[in-house]
Each structure stands twice: as C-alpha cells, then as structure tokens.
Subunit: 159 residues, 3 copies
C-alpha cells in the first residue's frame, strides 16, 4: 500500500504533511457540520428563506409565515461564516507552512492549538458562552495562522 502511494507522490509520506492533512480534514469536516446545524434549526424552528422550501407546509399565506428569520438559525449561520473566514486562511497558509519544512513537534503544536480553539469557538458560539470565551478562542486560532504565515514568508519570500 505505502509503496504504491510513494510512486504517485512523496508528500503523503512526509510526517508534517500527514499531520497537516489530518487536522485540515478535521476542521473542514467541523465547518461542514455547521450546514447540518443550520438545517436542523431551520426545520425545528420552521424558519426558511426560500419560498420553494416551505411548499410542503401548504400554499399561500399558510406557508408564507415560515419565511422568517430565527435567532438560532442566524446564530448558526454566523458561526458558519466565521469558520469560512478563519478556516480558509488556515487551510491555505497551513499547506504552505507544512511544505516550508517546520519541525514535526512545532507543526503539531500549531495544528492542535488551532483545531482545539476552533472547536471551542463553535461551542462558545452555539451555547452561547459568556464573553470573552468566544473572542479568546477566535484570537488564539487567528494567532496560530498568523504565526504559520510568518514562518512561510520568512522561508519562501520571493516577491
């Protein structure tokens, strides 16, 4: 199995790259989970945005009343957008960082803190926890991405 893969590319045999792939898959799956949470709130709170989504509740005014916003739906959507704004830079900069030759232990430290902070951020947003819980977890993940970007630019700089 491994030998077969090594033929196609060596990247996957690099331990730092394997760690990057593991944590990137985890945080992207976590981000995808936000779609299911939003859908769950839309259905249980009966709060939709597209007229065609309420057709099963009947025609006309009886269905129209479900075209509305709901605080829980909006909260899940804000958490999802915040994931996009923060996980996209992690995935992009993290790839370059993994290829820039960091120590495995340093790389694992970055990936673990980022992933832990973003999972905490989601709980802090959805429960919601009192501030500064959510704010701090956001800042921790943000700082990790910034630290990786610094290492990337120091290593590859070619303007």
């Amino acid at each position: 199995r491994r030998g077969e893969m090594a033929k196609s590319t060596q990247l996957i045999d690099n331990e730092v790259f394997r760690a990057y792939a593991t944590y990137t898959a985890i945080v992207l799956l976590k981000m995808m989970l936000m779609s299911l949470i939003t859908a769950y709130f839309r259905i249980t709170r009966k709060a939709f945005v597209n007229p065609e989504d309420t057709a099963s509740f009947g025609k006309g005014e009886s269905a129209k009343k479900y075209l509305r916003t709901d605080p829980d739906v909006e909260r899940a959507r804000r958490g999802h957008l915040n994931d996009l704004e923060n996980i996209v830079p992690f995935v992009g900069i993290g790839l370059l960082y993994a290829l820039s030759g960091p120590e495995l232990s340093t790389a694992l430290l970055h990936f673990r803190i980022f992933t832990g902070a973003r999972i905490f951020h989601t709980f802090a947003y959805l429960i919601p926890l009192p501030q500064p819980g959510r704010g701090l977890s956001w800042a921790v993940a943000y700082s990790v991405t910034f630290s990786m970007a610094y290492k990337v630019l120091k290593t590859v700089w070619l303007l």
Copy 2:
C-alpha cells in the same frame, strides 16, 4: 513541454492529480460565475447596497431608491454563499484525497459526481426547481466530500 514541467514537479504528471486540477478549476470557475450573475441581477433589477454604486443614477433621493434588496439578487447571493460553504471543503479535502493515492477510476467518480451535483444545485437554486431537487443535489455533493475525507483520514491519520 511535458519534460520541462516534470523538472519543476512530478505532481502534474500524476493522472489523479490532473483530474483533481481539472474538476477543481471547473467548480471554482462555476463559483466565480455567481459574482457575474449577482452583478447582472443588481444592474437589471436596479438593486444596490453601496451608495457609491448608484451615483450614476443622479444625486439624493432619485439615486437612494435603488439602495434596496431584490429577491433575485438575494437568491444569487445565497447560491454563491452555499458554493463557498461546499466548494471550499471539496477543494481542500480533494487535494489531500488526490495525494492519498486513490485509484484513478474511484477518484474520477468522486470528482464527477461532486461537480455534476454542484452544477445541478446552481440551476435548482436559480430557476428555482421545486424541492427536494436542490436539497438532494446539496446532499450528494456533501456526501462525496465526506467520502473523500474518510479516505484521507484513513490514509494519513497522524494526530
């Protein structure tokens, strides 16, 4: 030409990677198309959000009335955001999947179904088609990304 490229990297000579690159370019171009569709609806429906965008319609109240939301503009924007939420995980997880050594036929199956489902999703959103057309195409593309993530984690797992 090929020989010259092989000097810089072997990745591009890997058939699975070439398939990944082809489908990723297609779905990202499809996502970029949503900007043009939104712009088209903003201009034809005269529905803008930035005051400076309505300056060509005159000063004061005459221009202010074009600062409004329009159902078609909002629908195109929701389609665009849904693309971001679903195509970003595909691009990230798909790259790791392509590097994890799948069979070419299995990889092509994943990429083709995802791309077909997301193109269908856009039509289902914009026309709009009655549900569950849009919902099903969303679920199919979501499941493909999930299947690729499973293969990635099984292959690279290093926590």
Copy 3:
C-alpha cells in the same frame, strides 16, 4: 537549512511555487485583516449582533440598544465576503497554476497584478472611492484568476 528542506519536498525550492506561497500568504493575511477592521468598527460604533457581546454595557434595555447594524460595520463585512469570494478561487487555482509549469516572469505578473488589485479593492471599498474604482479593481483580479484557470485547464485537462 535548504538541504534539510529539500529532503522533505522539492516544491519549496521551485521559484514559481515560492512566488505563489509569498503572494498567497500576503492576500490571505490581507483577508484576515478584514476581521480586525470589522471588530474595530463594532467596538468604536458600538454595533453588535450577539447579545452576549453587549453584556459588559449592562443588563436589559441599556445593553440591548447596542444590538444594531452600522453602515461602517456592514461595509467592512461586505469587503470581507468579497475577499472570500475572490481570494478563495485565487488560492485554489493559483496552486494548480504554479504546479502547471508557467514561466516565472509570467507567474509573477499574474500574482502581482492580482495582489495589487485586491489591496486597491479594499481601500476602494472602505474609503469609499467613487466607482468605477472598486469595480475595475474587482474585474482586474477576476481576470487574472480566469487567465490562470485557462492555463491550468489547457495543461492538465483530464475529465
């Protein structure tokens, strides 16, 4: 240092890839900056969206009045979303482009124009500059990504 990195991967020794990594880190950091700008406007304009974010202003009605939208906050948020819609395709297609074996000078031209146009776009959005400043910078960056996608598809096409 270089020798040690070359063991793990050759990608980072490729000049086109180093240029890609540099400009990608820069535009992703620029996108991340939008979070700080939004937070700055939220705090100075006292305009929040989550009830738990206004708890430090007191309880009940006295805090509730800060749950509101503000034009500057909304403008920064639109700039951030526009970055997501345009920088995500650049990062994804740019990676494939960098691996498709372009001339360094051609690649640098693409990366520099995209990065310059997106930085100008942010200033045009936030100041704001009169149109068509923002529109043109958006179109320039969009065209660069389109040009890279064309090169990628011409090189790798495997459907």
